[in-house]
Amino acid sequence: MENNKTFFDNWVETQNKMMDQWNSTLQKGMESARTNDAFQAGSDWMKQWMSHQQEMVNKFKEAGKEQTEKNKAGMNSFLDGWMENQRHLSDTFLNSLKGFSGPYMNGQSDNYFEQMRNAGKSWMEAFNTGAKNWTDAYARPAAWAEMAQKTTSDTYRAMKSGFEAYSVMARMWKPMMDKMMTGEFSGNATHQFIDPAAFKAYLDKLFNFDHGTALLQQLMGSWMKMAAEMQDSNRIFDNIDAWKNQMAAFGNPVLELANRTADGLRQMLAPFTKLAEQPKAAKVKELVEQLGKEYNNAYHALTGLQYLIYKEGAATLDAFVKSTANKYADQEGYKDFNDLYSEWLKESGAAFESLFHTDEYSRLQGEAVNAQSNIKLATNELTEIFMEPFPVLLRSQADEIYRTNHDLKRRVYELEKELKTRTAKAGDSAIADKASKNTAAANRPRKS
C-alpha cells in the first residue's frame, strides 16, 4: 500500500510516539518506586525506554527516505507542524514535572549516612548534568564547543561544518536544478523540489541548532537519568526496610531523595558544624519546581526562535529559487554552484538580519537568555543548599571574600593617590618623590 504520509506526518508521529512512550515509562517507573519493585528492577525500565526510542527513530528514518524522494511535504506545513509538536513536547514535559513534585514526606533515619552520601552524589551529578547540558548547548553550540582551545583545530572544525552545510545545500538544489534544466520547473512549486528536512538540516548547521533542537531530548534525558540513577543508588538500600517503607509512601521520589540527602549529609557532618540547621526541604522543593518552569520557558523561547528562522529561511529560499529560475529562463545564471551559493549567502544573510531586528525575535531571544539566567540562579541556590553541610567554601562565602578584596584594593588605590596629592601640595618634593617612587615601585611588576 502506498504510503501517503508526508515527512511532517512521519516526524510528528514519531515524536508523539516517543513522548507517549516516555510518559508511559515514567508512570511505570514512578509506580514502581511507590511499590518498591523498582529498587530490585534497577534501571531496566529506563533501558527499555531507550530501546523503544531507538526503534522508533529507525522506523522514522526509513519512512523519511521514501518521503524525501517523493518530496510531497509542503514547507510551511512542515514548519508549522514542527512548531506545534515542540510546544506539545514542552507542555507534556511540564506536566510530567508537576507529577514529580507532589506531596512528600520529611522522615529521616540516622543509620545510613554513607549510603545517603552516595545517593546524594548520584543525584547531584545527574541534576547538575541536566543544567550543564542546557547551559552549554545554548551558550556554546556545536561549532563553538571548544572555542579558544586551539585556533587551528577550531578552524578545521569550522571548515568541516561549513563544508557540510554547503553539501547539504548542493544536494538539496540538485533535483530542482535538474528540473530547471529540462524546463519543467515552475517557480511557484519550490516546495515540490526542496526537501524540507534537508533544508532544516542546513539551517540547523548554520545556526548550530544541531544541539539546540536536541535540547528537549536532553532535558527529558537528564530527568530520566536522574530518576534512573536514583533507582540505581537505591539498590544499596535493599536491606534497609525502614528506608524502603518510608520511600514507598512518597509521591515524589526524586525530590524526596534530594531532601533526605541534604538531611543525611547534615547529620553526618553534625559533629563538625557549629549547629545543625533545620532542613531547607521547602526551599529545595520550590527551587526544583522553579527550575522546571524555567526549563519550559527556555524551550518555548528557543523553539520560537528556531521557528522564526525556519520560516524566514523558507520564504527567502522560495524567493531565491524563483529569481534563479527566472535567470535561467532569461539565459542568465551562475558561473557554478559556488557562485550560486555565494549569492544565496548574501540574500539569506540580509533576510535573517532583517528578522533579527524585529521585536518578536528580540523578545524571544531575551526570554531565552533570561530563562537561562534563572535556571542558573536556581541551580546555584540549590547547590549552595546541598553543599552547606560540607566544610567547603560556598559560592556566597567566596563572593564575600571577593567583595572584601575588591573594596580593599580600591581603598588602597585611593589612599596612595591621596598621599601623593597631599605631599605634592605640601610642597615637600622629597616626600612626594619618595611616595611617588614607592607607588611606582609597588605598581611596577617584579621580575621573577
Binding site: M159, S167, G333, Y341, H357
Partner: protein
C-alpha cells in the same frame, strides 16, 4: 554561463575537490605550531592587578611630545590593532611619529566580579593616565579610545578634562537610543541583573555567540573563502591570526557589565548626561579639548547612529568627524585604514601637540 547540466553533473566533482581541500587543510593546519599576533616591541611600565600599561618602543623620530594612551574595549583584545606587521595600526602610528602607550585590561577572573564601571574609570584608567604622565614627564596626554574603550575615554575626559590634551574616539558607542545596532536592540529585552547575578562575570563565549549571530551567514562565507586559500601559507596565516583574535575573548567583570548595559545600552544615560560614576554625574559638555570622532559606515556592531551624535553632545569647539568607509574591524586592519585613517589620526594629534 556554464551549461546547467555541466554545473550539476559536476556537483560531485566540486564536492570531491572541496573534500580534498579539507584533507589538505587538516594536514596544513596540524603542522602550524604558533600564530603570532601583536608583535610590535613594547615595555611594561605600570600594573595594577591584571591591568597593565605598555609603552611601545619605536626608532621612528617622534613628532609629538604628548604621549598617546590607547584604551581598547574590554571585549576581545587590543591585539587587533597590531594583528601582523603589514596590517598594524599601531606600527603605522609609531612610524608616523606618535609616542604610544596601550592599556591591557587583562582577563578578569571570578575574583574580579565586583570591578565596577567606576573602578574601570577612576582606578584603572585614571591610574593608567597618571602612569603615562609620570613615565613621559608630561602633565597631559592624548587619549585614544576604541569601541567600548572609546566610551570609557569619553567618560574619563568629561570627568578629568584637565589631564587630556586631545581625545580621539574610534567606532565608539555614545548614543544608545538608536535601534540600528542589533546588540543595542537585543540588550533591551534582556534581564541584565539576572544575567550578572547568575553568572558573576559574563563569559567571552556568551558574547562571541552573540557577535556571530549578528551576521549569521558570514561564517559560511568565511569558510568558503578559507577553502580557496587553504594551501596558500601566507593567506592562511592571515586568516588564522584573525581567528585567534576573534576567539581570544576575556570574560567581562560582572558589575561593570551590569552598569554598562543597564545605564548605557538600556537607559542611554551617557548621552542624556545622567550617567553616575561614583558620586559624580558625567556631563559631556565638560569635554572641551579637541576631539576627533571616527565612525565606520558599515559598522554592524556600533552603528553610525550611536557614534556620530558625540560631536553634538560635547563642549569642544575643535571637533572633527571622520567617516571611514568600511566595517568595525576594517577600521584597524583594512588597507584603507593603513593608508588613510592612521595618517589622518596622526596628523590630527601632531598638529595639536
Amino acid at each position: 554561463m556554464m551549461n546547467m547540466a555541466d554545473q550539476f553533473s559536476n556537483a560531485a566533482e566540486i564536492a570531491a575537490r572541496m573534500a580534498d581541500k579539507m584533507m589538505a587543510g587538516y594536514q596544513i593546519l596540524s603542522e602550524i605550531d604558533e600564530i603570532d599576533v601583536a608583535t610590535a616591541e613594547k615595555e611594561l611600565i605600570w600594573q595594577l592587578g591584571r591591568v597593565k600599561v605598555y609603552h611601545y618602543i619605536s626608532s621612528a623620530p617622534k613628532k609629538s611630545q604628548t604621549p598617546t594612551l590607547i584604551s581598547y574595549a574590554l571585549v576581545n583584545r587590543q591585539d587587533m590593532m597590531d594583528l601582523q606587521p603589514d596590517r598594524s595600526y599601531i606600527r603605522n602610528l609609531l612610524n608616523l611619529g606618535l609616542d604610544l602607550y596601550i592599556i591591557d585590561w587583562g582577563y578578569p577572573t571570578a575574583a574580579d566580579k565586583y570591578d565596577s564601571l567606576e573602578d574601570y574609570i577612576e582606578m584603572y584608567l585614571d591610574g593608567a593616565v597618571d602612569a603615562v604622565c609620570e613615565d613621559s614627564g608630561q602633565s597631559k596626554i592624548n587619549l585614544m579610545g576604541i569601541c567600548q574603550g572609546g566610551t570609557f575615554s569619553v567618560i574619563y575626559s568629561a570627568l578629568h578634562p584637565e589631564k587630556i590634551k586631545n581625545l580621539v574616539t574610534l567606532v565608539t558607542p555614545i548614543d544608545f537610543s538608536t535601534n540600528d545596532g542589533l546588540l543595542i536592540r537585543w540588550s533591551k529585552d534582556m534581564d541584565i541583573d539576572a544575567l550578572v547575578d547568575a553568572n558573576g562575570n559574563i563569559s567571552g563565549d556568551f558574547l562571541n555567540v552573540g557577535f556571530a549571530t549578528l551576521k549569521p551567514m558570514m561564517q559560511a562565507g568565511k569558510v568558503m573563502n578559507l577553502m580557496s586559500i587553504i594551501d596558500d601559507k601566507d593567506k592562511l596565516m592571515n586568516y588564522l591570526r584573525m581567528e585567534k583574535w576573534i576567539n581570544d575573548s576575556p570574560d567581562q567583570a560582572g558589575e561593570c557589565y551590569r552598569q554598562f548595559l543597564k545605564d548605557l545600552y538600556q537607559e542611554n544615560k551617557l548621552a542624556n548626561n545622567e550617567l553616575k560614576i561614583g558620586r559624580r554625574t558625567v556631563n559631556l559638555k565638560d569635554i572641551t579639548m579637541p576631539v576627533m570622532n571616527v565612525y565606520a559606515t558599515e559598522d554592524h556592531l556600533v552603528p553610525p547612529a550611536a557614534t556620530i551624535p558625540l560631536n553634538d553632545l560635547i563642549g569642544s569647539k575643535d571637533k572633527s568627524l571622520y567617516k571611514f568607509p568600511g566595517g568595525h574591524i576594517g577600521v584597524f586592519v583594512g588597507g584603507r585604514s593603513q593608508k588613510e585613517l592612521a595618517p589622518a589620526v596622526a596628523e590630527f594629534l601632531i598638529s595639536r601637540d
